[in-house]
Subunit: 438 residues, 2 copies
């Protein structure tokens, strides 16, 4: 049976998971895959920290250069993270003739072009199933399983931390800060949660999925991102009354005037599969012209789910399939054109707007008038009895409108004398958009 040497660089949470699978399940993996994966090196700058898995001491090293040039290593697993040293290591490994497997979405989203170029030059591959939706094999679904389709949309809940926070807020009515604190206590959020709650992490993942699914180069700057910081439980509640669930949704759609690429809090119809993705799970809805809607969901983070996808990619490289994929598939093989991306102002969407207004006659007429003049058609109005004497929330949902028009209308409405606070805008997914090809 063929043996493939593996080096794991970065012995943190994910690295530990990979080492655990490769050592504790070695025989079973060999049997399942028909090739033996042999752990040759485990590299980390800090080798003294206790880990939850045993590694023979002679495999441990702090010398990453030695790993990527070791002739006994055919596949290098990079779990260092970040867009600096990790990228250099991956390029070194490729140049040395190793296949690379990584979960590093930041590196792929920001420096994917040069990484792929390095892989092509060396006729090697980069596996990155774990970079999007961790354990859910959505990269394979898009890249291999749906390859016969012209995709029209990829929509995903791609950040487990944000989804956990929003799920808690929805379930318990908790405020954002309290739900964040719970997420941190449970280990679902970092001490500094910015990367997750700002939408930046989902933005990285969307850039990768869109590039793969639409066969295009994606500049990260072209992906609009808005986070969940400051989302109010009131809006989750009002949205719920209208039949919607709030999610941080990453959207890639192909339209006549280019791609729309954006990450923002989105009201999703409660009946959509996307609305069922709860806690720290991820979920991705992929729509193709032949297949229609397909949906994938599962754990979006964690040691073992991430390791599951990384080891699958190692096997893909060991069997020689990953290299074939890399030589041929559009984006990976570098054959893809750059497709135009709509600026956010040109996006069409439905909107949930909440105005804090003074409770007096003519307010609704004034707001509706501004909306009408900006070509924004009202779909529904929700106004409860006032609970505070000075202001009352007025919720308006719109039919599909142009984002730029909504921005202009919001600015104009903000100047009306009847406004008692800032306006909240949340984009809404049409029921038919959530389940069908547009």
């Amino acid at each position: 049976m063929q043996t493939t040497g593996v080096a794991v660089i970065g012995f943190g949470t994910v690295g530990t998971g990979v080492v655990r699978l490769l050592t504790e399940d070695a025989d079973r993996l060999a049997d399942a895959a028909g090739c033996r994966l042999r752990l040759r090196r485990v590299c980390d700058l800090d080798l003294d920290r206790p880990r939850s898995v045993d590694v023979p001491p002679d495999l441990l090293t702090a010398d990453a250069d030695a790993c990527v040039s070791d002739p006994e290593v055919q596949v290098v697993v990079e779990t260092v993270g970040g867009t600096g040293a990790a990228v250099d290591l991956m390029k070194q490994a490729l140049t040395a003739g190793k296949d690379v497997v990584t979960a590093n979405k930041a590196a792929l989203a920001e420096r994917g072009a040069e990484l792929f170029e390095a892989a092509r030059r060396a006729d090697r591959s980069i596996g990155f199933e774990a970079a999007c939706a961790a354990g859910v094999p959505v990269i394979r679904a898009i890249r291999d399983g749906l390859i016969a389709n012209r995709l029209s949309a990829i929509m995903g809940i791609l950040n487990g931390t944000s989804n956990y926070i929003l799920s808690r807020m929805t379930a318990t009515g908790a405020a954002y800060d309290d739900a964040l604190a719970q997420a941190q206590a449970k280990g679902y959020a970092e001490a500094d949660p910015t990367l997750d709650v700002s939408g930046e992490d989902a933005r990285h993942k969307l850039a990768i999925l869109a590039a793969l699914g639409f066969g295009t180069l994606v500049d990260l700057e072209d992906v609009y991102a808005e986070g969940i910081q400051g989302v109010s439980p009131h809006d989750l509640q009002f949205g719920g009354q209208l039949g919607y669930v709030l999610k941080l949704l990453a959207i890639a759609r192909a339209g006549d005037d280019g791609l729309s690429l954006r990450v923002h809090p989105t009201f999703i119809p409660a009946g959509s599969p996307l609305a069922t993705v709860s806690g720290a799970d991820n979920g991705v809805l992929v729509t193709g012209h032949a297949v229609g809607d397909t949906f994938y969901t599962g754990p979006g983070a964690g040691e073992q789910p991430t390791a599951s996808s990384i080891v699958a990619d190692v096997i893909d490289a060991a069997l020689g399939r990953a290299q074939q994929t890399f030589r041929h598939v559009t984006w990976l093989a570098g054959r893809c054109p750059r497709r135009p991306v709509q600026p956010i102002d040109r996006v069409r969407s439905r909107y949930y707007l909440r105005f804090d207004v003074v409770d007096k006659p003519g307010v609704l007429a004034g707001i509706a008038g501004v909306l009408g003049r900006h070509d924004i058609s009202v779909a529904s109005v929700l106004q409860h009895e006032p609970t505070r004497p000075d202001s009352v929330p007025l919720v308006i949902t719109t039919h599909e409108a142009l984002e730029g028009n909504v921005t202009s209308a919001m600015e104009e409405i903000q100047d009306l004398p009847s406004m008692a606070g800032p306006t909240v805008r949340v984009r809404m997914l049409d029921p038919h958009q959530a389940v069908e090809t547009p």
Copy 2:
């Protein structure tokens, strides 16, 4: 760019879909996959019937032998169906050095061993993504994406016809016969729907998924199957009141005393992803020790979704990945042991039992007594005011019990003088079973 010749044998619905993709999307497919698929032959006994896609007349033939021996053909797509001539054709094609792609679940479930043996002898591959859940790439998910996992369960809604009928009955309260007639009118059910509604089609698919996921040989006779014929809208309604949705569920679970392989109507907790699979869709929940629960859903039938998966498999063969997979992966490579399968009597499950009883004192005590003596513990009781003078439905759900005990208890209860009709038994999925590793 490399060119791969493709022959499509069987020019019915699915064959038409494949021909459509290969001809109308030829350039885009070549660009996406980095290899050109050239349609060389389209074979059917009836070439006069009008089709919805144009084929150059010189490609059409009624001579299947010529297709499978044509030196210009590298991949043979079999859409003839059945376990007779189709199997012979596939074996001929493999022996002639062609890779084979098929959606023929009956052939794979009943004669998979000899087909795979023929493929191995010829060092060729058989692609069958389209055989389970049509357009949803669940074969790739299990075979490639989750390969690093020890799977504990595969649970699927694998028959679109049955799911459509049950979805209609649930949504409208229609009787089985009416819902079946609607399914037939919409083209979701055949004039003779037996294969679908008896559970036989799902049984074929489950046998394939279980063999692949558990790396074992599966004898079709070891897969227990019960269909949806005669399901009563009353039970759907009672189940709904208890928070459950009825689905024809295919279950493969690995336990200490062997595999449990079965297809039967099952009450699924309304919160489970499986419960959201509606209409003619399919959905599969796959649980692995590393990844946890992952879920896949989408169109489970139809010309285009099936063709989507077939063409993906053709590309896999054209790129040389399918052959690598076939050489190595356990079941396909013929390295797998036969794992013991639990007889249905040894299965443990929760149960929904509906008794039609005469409305008089002591009835519940009598039934509960029998259940208790068979080690069956009652979880809930639901009895409505009688609507008919002579009998009243009494619904009892149980905690986990042994199927054999339930069968014995039902026989004993049936002899009680208070019984006014036959007892209905529906297996229930525990909420934790529907979403977590057991």
